[in-house]
């Protein structure tokens, strides 16, 4: 007898994505949909898409959705959540979106303890616009606007979002995960589920930072990109839970 043990989550449309081969966004979308399905909340979810490669996320996940302006998803989430406190509100944001243009919005959503969940996709690059430097671009990384490799004296240092947000009292759950290999993907899903549960339990702001591969703008094959996450990104961006509702304290790397 054949028993299906892995299939497309129900809350995802059965369509092909617009992402490049090997892109991390697809994996993160699936984790999101799985968590939504497992928690059985699809009918009370409101999602906010960013401007970035994932702007079209609403083409893949079958819930009420806004498409935000670049960086402003947390403000839109705030407006929505204040009107409908019973909705489960999430934003899905890239590193340009969240850590650059949307810096003020994410910090103040966290400071207010806004009861929303943020999926933060850190791929160390501006994917959609063609590979410009992101605040999360790592030292030495070449991008179309750091053509000689990011140098601290010229382009400054990478921003560690999870660590920074963990300093805010309103932040209840903050974790960093990765999606380049199955064991990390399993851990990532656990963190994401915890983040949504934090919201469902009304405990305040939750954010999961996903290290994610962008083979196209890193100029690598998908396999090379996976290795690059392991070898370059994780040392710069340590994984772990930086804050949990239990501790509400900063935890050094997991």
């Amino acid at each position: 007898m054949l028993v299906k043990v892995f299939e497309r989550p129900k809350s995802m449309f059965p369509v092909t994505t617009h992402y490049c081969p090997g892109c991390g966004h697809g994996i993160i979308h699936r984790l999101l949909a799985e968590v939504i399905d497992e928690l059985g909340i699809i009918e009370r979810v409101a999602g906010i898409a960013p401007v970035g490669c994932s702007v079209l996320i609403y083409n893949y996940i079958n819930c009420d959705m806004y498409e935000a302006a670049h960086g402003r998803a947390p403000a839109i989430a705030t407006g929505c959540k204040r009107v409908h406190p019973d909705l489960i509100v999430f934003t899905y944001q890239g590193d340009g979106d969240l850590a650059s243009i949307g810096t003020a919005e994410i910090i103040h959503a966290a400071a207010r303890g806004e009861n929303i969940t943020v999926l933060f996709v850190n791929n160390a690059i501006y994917g959609m616009t063609g590979g410009q430097m992101a605040p999360t671009t790592i030292i030495g990384q070449k991008t179309t606007t750091s053509p000689n490799g990011r140098a601290p004296g010229r382009e400054g240092y990478p921003v560690r979002v999870a660590e920074m947000l963990a300093t805010l009292e309103g932040a209840a759950y903050i974790a960093r995960v990765a999606v380049h290999k199955p064991k990390y993907i399993i851990a990532a899903k656990k963190a994401l589920r915890k983040a949504f549960e934090t919201q469902i339990n009304g405990l305040g702001f939750s954010l999961v930072e996903f290290l994610s591969q962008c083979p196209t703008n890193w100029g690598m094959s998908p396999q090379k990109a996976v290795d690059w996450v392991e070898e370059k990104m994780i040392p710069c961006y340590p994984l772990g839970e930086f804050k949990t509702p239990e501790t509400k304290k900063t935890v050094e790397e997991a």
Binding site: M1, L2, V3, K4, V5, F6, E7, R8, P9, M12, T16, T17, Y19, C20, P21, G22, C23, G24, H25, G26, I27, R30, K181, P182, I185, I186, P215, S221, P222, Q223, V226
Partner: protein
């Protein structure tokens, strides 16, 4: 109790991540080209080694893989 995967060739973008992670090297690149121009992944398990461990599906960005466990008879 073994497993079996089905790759949706139209959804697959040939990123080969599944190929990398299968512990038994049961996935290969197909010589077919799909309508988007990609060479999709192909399940090749003549010795029925697949355990249905789902690692390949977990890592697939396109949800192009469905997995079945073969139980009982």
């Amino acid at each position: 109790m073994g497993g079996k995967i089905v790759v949706n060739e139209e959804l697959c973008k040939g990123c080969q991540l599944c190929i990398t992670v299968c512990p038994f090297h049961l996935i290969q690149v197909s010589s077919n080209i799909n309508s988007k121009g990609y060479h999709p992944a192909k399940f090749v398990d003549p010795e029925r080694k697949c355990t249905g461990c789902t690692l390949c599906a977990l890592t697939c960005p396109e949800i192009a893989i469905e997995i079945y466990k073969i139980t009982g008879s």
